[in-house]
């Protein structure tokens, strides 16, 4: 009994230290990302969803601190997964959360710390966010987010010349898609769809890939762009 109390104190303090470590790591990453007040980035958007045939197209992405974000396809229409396309990583950590250290993992060949963020607000839209942070370069390599209304989606980042700002060269979003079914009366297509096509379209993960070619950082972005 004499030894049990100090042991429990040690275990609890260890947990607290770990929790602080996790929170500190997230805070440091957040600090780095917050150095970017705004940016205008050009890139290529590729939508890879089983039941959507969409050509790759040039896009311009605008971001303004703290949470303004918009993506514009030049002269065209962009199809993006609902709720999951907020590329602004700083806003992913802009809620009141509890950070829990969940070990280590290798992502893109890089050793990362796995941090789980649990929102303190029980009614929060976000349920759980798992961040894979490269502690050496202070870069977010991967994030898995589970939300109430939009399910779970994953972001995988690759970095290049804008790594100093924590901005990725490539982002791949993966998400689960529901089966696509639409009444013939709406499509006015009365021929039956090919059964092989129908099977191919089912239970597939969707992916949206953005490859950035350039960023213009902290040069100001007018609010009118986000309207």
């Amino acid at each position: 009994m004499k030894l049990l109390f100090p042991f429990l104190v040690f275990i609890f303090s260890l947990n607290t230290v770990q929790a602080q470590d996790a929170a500190t790591l997230v805070s440091k990453l957040k600090e780095k990302l917050q150095k970017v007040h705004d940016y205008e980035a050009t890139g290529i958007l590729k939508t890879d969803v089983a039941f959507i045939k969409s050509p790759a197209g040039k896009i311009i992405v605008y971001y303004k601190n703290p949470d303004k974000f918009t993506l514009k396809r030049q002269g065209g229409i962009s199809i993006l997964p609902k709720g999951g396309m907020n590329v602004n990583m700083a806003s992913m950590m802009s809620f009141d959360y509890l950070a829990i250290d969940a070990g280590e993992a290798i992502v893109n060949g890089v050793n990362t710390r796995v941090i789980k963020l649990l929102p303190n607000d029980e009614k929060s839209e976000l349920i759980l966010s798992t961040l894979y942070i490269d502690p050496v370069n202070m870069l977010l390599q991967k994030a898995i987010t589970t939300t109430r209304s939009n399910g779970t989606y994953e972001m995988l980042m690759s970095y290049g010349k804008y790594a100093a700002y924590g901005l990725p060269d490539k982002v791949v979003f993966s998400f689960n898609t529901k089966d696509y079914k639409i009444p013939k009366g709406v499509t006015l297509e009365f021929n039956d769809a090919n059964k092989a096509d129908m099977e191919k379209m089912k239970n597939k993960k969707g992916k949206v890939e953005i490859s950035y070619s350039s960023y213009i950082i902290n040069k100001g972005v007018p609010d009118s762009i986000f309207k």
């Binding site: 590729k46 890879d48 089983a50 039941f51 959507i52 045939k53 969409s54 050509p55 790759a56 197209g57 918009t70 993506l71 514009k72 396809r73 002269g75 065209g76 229409i77 962009s78 199809i79 993006l80 997964p81 609902k82 396309m85 898609t177 529901k178 696509y180 079914k181 639409i182 013939k184 709406v186 499509t187 006015l188 297509e189 009365f190 021929n191 039956d192 769809a193 090919n194 096509d197 129908m198 379209m201």
Partner: protein, 291 residues
């Protein structure tokens, strides 16, 4: 032949009935354009309701190209009925007026006479389609602007870049002309059998309705017949609005998913046209003209 063609075209456009189709199409297109102009976003929300739960669409979905596609989907089913008004009247109308006997006393072969009439009816069909193209495509793009075209198939959604759309419409209208020519040929063929216009017009419309129902019903018995019905192939102008994917599932710009289907349909429609027109000429040549 050229003179015969000119005379027949002149006769077609002297008849008030000819303009019914142009007036009906103008009224239909204008009313749909007006509706979409005023409240098109609600219509697009309804069309995209299956996708908008999971996806955000950024950009102008309701543009001139989509409006044209909606119009063609609605109109190209009904235009054959309007074409029948003229094509099924080509021979029976003359018989009804008692001018047929007089006409064939002229030093023109019966084959040339019939071909002249069919070419004139085809010209009317062509003008009707050009009018539809002008209103549905030119006016719609002027009113709603241009942009990427997003359309929904039964199993998937297709997005086409705006610079990859116009040629598809050119192809679709050319194909639609072939399809409407098959209807023209059917009406023309039936007009040989009657001495009044109502019979062939109603018969043409009835056949089109009957075949269309058989083409659209997914009953196994009908599915065996469907590949041979011209109405099953008339709607294949839509094949121009589907893209091929490469091995990595990337869209191949400027491609058509089912080119073979288009060729096949064009051949079937071509065969129908040849059979109907040849049949009409053969029967007319053997027929005693008494009216």
């Amino acid at each position: 032949m050229w003179k015969l063609f000119n005379i027949e075209v002149y006769k077609i456009f002297r008849r008030p009935r000819t303009y019914i189709a142009f007036a009906a199409i103008t009224a239909l297109i204008v009313i749909i354009q007006l509706g979409l102009y005023v409240d098109g976003d609600s219509y697009v929300d309804f069309l995209m309701s299956g996708l908008k739960d999971s996806f955000d669409f950024q950009g102008k979905i309701l543009n001139g190209y989509l409006v044209c596609y909606i119009l063609l989907q609605l109109l190209l089913v009904h235009v054959p009925l309007l074409i029948a008004l003229v094509s099924a009247d080509m021979i029976s109308g003359e018989a009804n007026m008692g001018t047929l006997r007089l006409l064939i006393t002229k030093p023109v072969s019966k084959t040339s006479f019939m071909l002249g009439k069919f070419l004139a009816a085809s010209f009317y069909t062509l003008l009707l389609l050009i009018w539809i193209a002008f209103l549905a495509l030119a006016v719609s793009t002027w009113l709603f602007g241009t942009g990427d075209l997003i359309i929904q198939k039964n199993a998937y959604v297709v997005q086409m870049s705006q610079d990859d759309v116009f040629w598809r419409y050119a192809g679709a209208f050319a194909f639609a002309f072939l399809a409407m020519l098959a209807v023209t040929a059917l009406g023309f063929f039936l007009s040989v059998f009657s001495e009044n216009s109502i019979g062939p017009i109603v018969a043409t419309i009835s056949i089109i309705i009957f075949f269309t129902i058989m083409s659209t019903m997914s009953i196994p018995l009908f599915q065996h017949i469907q590949p041979y019905l011209f109405t099953s192939h008339m709607v294949n102008w839509k094949e121009f609005f589907d893209e091929k994917l490469d091995a990595s599932d990337n869209v191949i710009k400027g491609s058509i998913q089912n080119v073979e289907q288009l060729y096949n349909s064009a051949i079937v429609l071509g065969v129908y046209i040849v059979v109907f027109v040849s049949g009409a000429i053969i029967i007319f040549k053997r027929k005693d003209i008494l009216s």
